[in-house]
C-alpha cells in the first residue's frame, strides 16, 4: 500500500509541475505572445482578446499569484480558453475531438510493439548466439534511423508506388465520422501503415533491453536450479527467467511513454493523421498559443495517467512491490 501511496503522491507532484510549467512558459519566454497575436490578427474578436488577456496576464489581470490561482481555477473547471485560429471553438472541444484518434492508434501500436519486442527479446536471450541473436546489433541501425525518415520512405514505397495503403489522413474524404461500418473500415485501413511504422521503429528498444536483462537473469542460480529439477525449457524460460526479467522492462515502459508520445507527434505530422500531435503542430506554426498550451497540458496529463497504469501493472507483476511494507 505504501508503494502505491508514494506513487500517487509522486504523480500529484508531477501533475502540479506540469500545470506550473505550462503556466510559466508563456510568461517567461522572450517575446510577448499576446502582442504577436495582435499583430498577426488585427481583426481579432473582442472575446478572443479578452480570453487572451486573462490567460497571458496582459493588462490588468493582477499579481502573478492572482493570475496563477485564476489559471488553476480555470483548469479545474475544464476551461482551457478559446482557440485563436478556430475562434470561437473551445480548446477543450478541439482536444476532445482529436485525442481519441491519438489514444487509439498510439495505444494499440505501443502495446503491440512492447509485446512483440519483449517476446523476441526473450527468444534472443534464450537462443543466445543463434542466428537471431547475432542479427540483433543490426537493429541498432533501425533504432538510429529518424522515425520520420523511415516513415516517409515507407509511405513512398507502399502507399505512393504500390498503392497498398492510403497516403495520409485518418479516414477517406467524404465520410462522416461516426459508429457506422464504412467509416470504421476506412479508419482501420488508414491506421495500418502509421501503426506499422511505430511498431517497426520502437520495437528494437524493447527487444534489446529485454535480451540484456534476460541474459543476466538466466545466469541466476534459481534458473539453474529450475533446470536441474528437470523442468521443461518452456517453463524455465517463461515462468522463471522471463517472469523476473520483464520487471525492469515494465518500469522502463512507464518511463519511456513520454518518448512514445513524442514519436506519435511526428507520426501524425507525417501522415496528416487527425490526432492531437498534428493539432499541436498546427497550433505552433500558426501561433495559436491557447491551443498550444492546452494540448501540452493534456499530453502531459495523459502521460502521467499512462505511467500510473504501468505502475499498477508493475505492482501486480512484482510481489516485492506489494510486500515492501507488509513486514
Amino acid at each position: 500500500m505504501q508503494f502505491i501511496v508514494r506513487r500517487i503522491v509522486f504523480y500529484l507532484v508531477a501533475a502540479w509541475a506540469a500545470l506550473t510549467v505550462n503556466f510559466f512558459i508563456p510568461r517567461f519566454m522572450p517575446g510577448n505572445p499576446a502582442e504577436v497575436l495582435f499583430q498577426k490578427f488585427p481583426s481579432l474578436q473582442p472575446g478572443a482578446l479578452k480570453s487572451l488577456e486573462a490567460e497571458f496576464g496582459i493588462g490588468h489581470a493582477g499579481s502573478l499569484l492572482h493570475q496563477y490561482l485564476t489559471y488553476l481555477d480555470n483548469i479545474f473547471h475544464g476551461n482551457l480558453g478559446l482557440s485563436v485560429i478556430e475562434y470561437p471553438a473551445h480548446v477543450s472541444t478541439i482536444i476532445g475531438e482529436t485525442l481519441p484518434w491519438t489514444l487509439t492508434l498510439v495505444g494499440t501500436a505501443t502495446v503491440i510493439s512492447f509485446t512483440l519486442g519483449t517476446g523476441l527479446g526473450i527468444l534472443a536471450a534464450w537462443r543466445r548466439g543463434g542466428w537471431f541473436d547475432r542479427i540483433l546489433p543490426a537493429l541498432s541501425f533501425l533504432q538510429g534511423v529518424p522515425y520520420f525518415f523511415l516513415a516517409l520512405l515507407l509511405v513512398d514505397a507502399l502507399a505512393v508506388h504500390l498503392h497498398w495503403f492510403p497516403i495520409q489522413q485518418g479516414y477517406s474524404e467524404g465520410l462522416v465520422p461516426g459508429w457506422h461500418w464504412p467509416f470504421i473500415q476506412s479508419a482501420l485501413y488508414h491506421s495500418v501503415l502509421p501503426a506499422f511504422t511505430i511498431v517497426l521503429t520502437s520495437m528494437a528498444g524493447w527487444m534489446l533491453q529485454m535480451r540484456n536483462v534476460m541474459i543476466t537473469t538466466i545466469g541466476e542460480d534459481y534458473v539453474l536450479a529450475a533446470q536441474a529439477k528437470g523442468l521443461s525449457s518452456r517453463r524455465v524460460v517463461m515462468t522463471y527467467a522471463a517472469r523476473n526479467a520483464i520487471l525492469p522492462n515494465l518500469s522502463g515502459f512507464a518511463l519511456s511513454l513520454g518518448f512514445v508520445i513524442s514519436g506519435a507527434l511526428i507520426m501524425e505530422i507525417v501522415f496528416s493523421y487527425p490526432g492531437i500531435g498534428l493539432t499541436l503542430y498546427n497550433a505552433v506554426t500558426s501561433d495559436d498559443y491557447p491551443l498550444m498550451q492546452g494540448i501540452f497540458l493534456i499530453i502531459a496529463l495523459a502521460v502521467l495517467i499512462a505511467n500510473f497504469i504501468a505502475d499498477a501493472v508493475y505492482v501486480i507483476a512484482d510481489p516485492r512491490a506489494r510486500a515492501r511494507d507488509d513486514h
Binding site: F10, V13, A14, A17, A18, V21, I25, M29, P30, G31, P33, W126, R128, P137, S140, F141, Q143, G144, V145, P146, Y147, F148, F149, L152, L153, D156, V160, N212, I215, T216, I218, G219, V223, Q227, A228, L255, L257, G258, F259, I261, S262, L265, I266, I269, G277, L280, Y281, A283, V284, T285, Y289, M292, Q293, I295, F296, I299, A300, V303, L304, N307
Partner: protein, 347 residues
C-alpha cells in the same frame, strides 16, 4: 651491442601503445564497428567544410534537381545546390550541436546525480523527485511548445533547450551508482582518514563512475541527434543553417520524394541513421565493459570446437559432440542427459 637491445625496457610511449592495442583487441566487434563509424563522421566533420566542392547555399536555377553526376556526386537540390557539400557541412553542424547538448546535459546529470546520491535524506528526495518529474514530462511536445514561443530560432536556442531538458535519465543512473558506491569500504576508509567531501567525490567516487558517465554522455548525444533532427524537420530550427535536419526539412518541403529526387532525401537520413547507430554500438561496448555477462567474446573458453561463455544459460554439455574428444566425453559424464542415458539403458 646487439644483445643489449633485447633487454631495453620499453619506453612509456611504447607501453602506452601496447596497452591501447590490448584495449582495442578487448573491445567487442560491435564496439569496434561503432568506433570506426564514429571516427569517420568526426573526420568528415573536421575536414568536410574544406573539401566540400561547392558552397552549400549557392543556388543554380538552371540545373534544378539533377541526378548524381561527376560534377555533383550526390546530385543537386531543386534550387541547384550541391547535396554533397550540404551533407559535409551539415555533418559538422549536427555533430557540434549534439556534442554540445551532450556536454551540457551530462554535466547537469553528473551534478544532480552525485549530489542526490551523496547527500541522501531530503536533498536526495527532492532531487530525485525533480529528475523523475522531468523524466515523466513528455520532452518533445514541451520542446515544440517552448520553441513555439522563441522569436529567433537558432542553433544556440536548440542547444540550450535540449541540454536543459536532457539530463534526468543520466542523473537517475548516476544517483543509483553513487548510492551504492557511497557505502563501499574504500569510501568509508577515505572518510575515516579525514578526506573532505569534495576529495571523496572527485577522487573516490567520480573515477569509479567514468564508464557510466561515458555511457550516459553517448546516450545523450544520441538523444540530441534524434531530437534536433526531428525539430529541424518540423521547421523549428533556423532553416538557413545547414544541418542534417534542415537538409531533410528542405527536401521534404520541396517534395523531393514525390519528384523522385531520392539523392536529396536519402543521404542526410542515412547519415543520421549511421551516426546514431555507430553511437548505439559504441554504447553496447561501454555496457559490456561494465557488465561482463553481456560480453560475447571475452572470457570465453573453447571446449570441443565450441566457445563457452561464463554467462551461458547453463552448461548444455550434450551439445558438445559426444565422444569426439576426451574432454567432451569427460564433461558429458556430468551432464543430465548422460545420467538419464545411463539409468535408462543400462550398459
Amino acid at each position: 651491442m646487439a644483445v643489449a637491445v633485447g633487454v631495453v625496457e620499453p619506453t612509456p610511449a611504447v607501453r602506452a601503445k601496447r596497452r591501447r592495442g590490448t584495449a582495442w583487441r578487448q573491445m567487442s566487434i560491435k564496439a569496434k564497428v561503432g568506433a570506426v563509424i564514429l571516427l569517420l563522421f568526426v573526420l568528415a566533420a573536421i575536414i568536410g567544410p574544406y573539401v566540400a566542392p561547392y558552397n552549400p547555399s549557392t543556388e543554380n536555377i538552371v540545373t534544378g534537381a539533377a541526378a548524381p553526376s561527376v560534377a555533383h556526386l550526390l546530385g543537386t537540390t531543386t534550387f541547384g545546390q550541391d547535396v554533397l557539400s550540404q551533407l559535409l557541412v551539415g555533418i559538422r553542424a549536427t555533430l557540434i550541436l549534439s556534442l554540445a547538448v551532450g556536454l551540457i546535459a551530462t554535466t547537469l546529470s553528473v551534478v544532480v546525480g552525485i549530489s542526490a546520491g551523496f547527500l541522501g535524506g531530503w536533498g536526495d528526495e527532492g532531487l530525485s523527485l525533480l529528475s523523475n518529474v522531468f523524466l515523466v514530462l513528455p520532452a518533445l511536445p514541451l520542446l515544440v511548445v517552448l520553441l513555439g514561443y522563441v522569436p529567433q530560432r537558432g542553433d544556440l536556442t536548440t542547444i540550450i533547450v535540449l541540454g536543459v531538458l536532457g539530463w534526468p535519465w543520466g542523473a537517475r543512473v548516476i544517483r543509483a551508482q553513487t548510492l551504492s558506491l557511497r557505502n563501499r569500504d574504500f569510501v568509508s576508509a577515505a572518510r575515516e582518514t579525514g578526506d573532505s567531501s569534495w576529495r571523496i567525490i572527485f577522487f573516490e567516487i567520480l573515477p569509479n563512475e567514468v564508464s557510466l558517465i561515458a555511457a550516459s554522455f553517448v546516450s545523450t548525444v544520441i538523444y540530441a541527434i534524434g531530437t534536433s533532427v526531428a525539430l529541424a524537420f518540423l521547421g523549428l530550427a533556423d532553416e538557413n543553417s545547414w544541418t542534417l535536419g534542415t537538409m531533410l526539412y528542405w527536401a521534404q518541403s520541396q517534395s523531393a520524394l514525390q519528384a523522385n529526387a531520392w539523392w536529396w532525401f536519402i543521404p542526410p537520413g542515412l547519415a543520421v541513421a549511421f551516426l546514431a547507430a555507430g553511437l548505439v554500438l559504441l554504447n553496447f561496448g561501454i555496457d559490456e565493459l561494465g557488465n561482463p555477462r553481456l560480453r560475447d567474446a571475452a572470457g570465453g573458453s573453447r571446449i570441443d570446437g565450441r566457445r563457452w561463455r561464463p554467462a551461458d544459460p547453463t552448461p548444455v554439455l550434450h551439445l558438445a559432440a559426444p565422444g569426439r574428444s576426451s574432454s567432451g566425453g569427460f564433461l558429458r559424464s556430468f551432464s543430465r542427459r548422460s545420467v538419464t542415458e545411463q539409468t535408462g539403458q543400462p550398459r
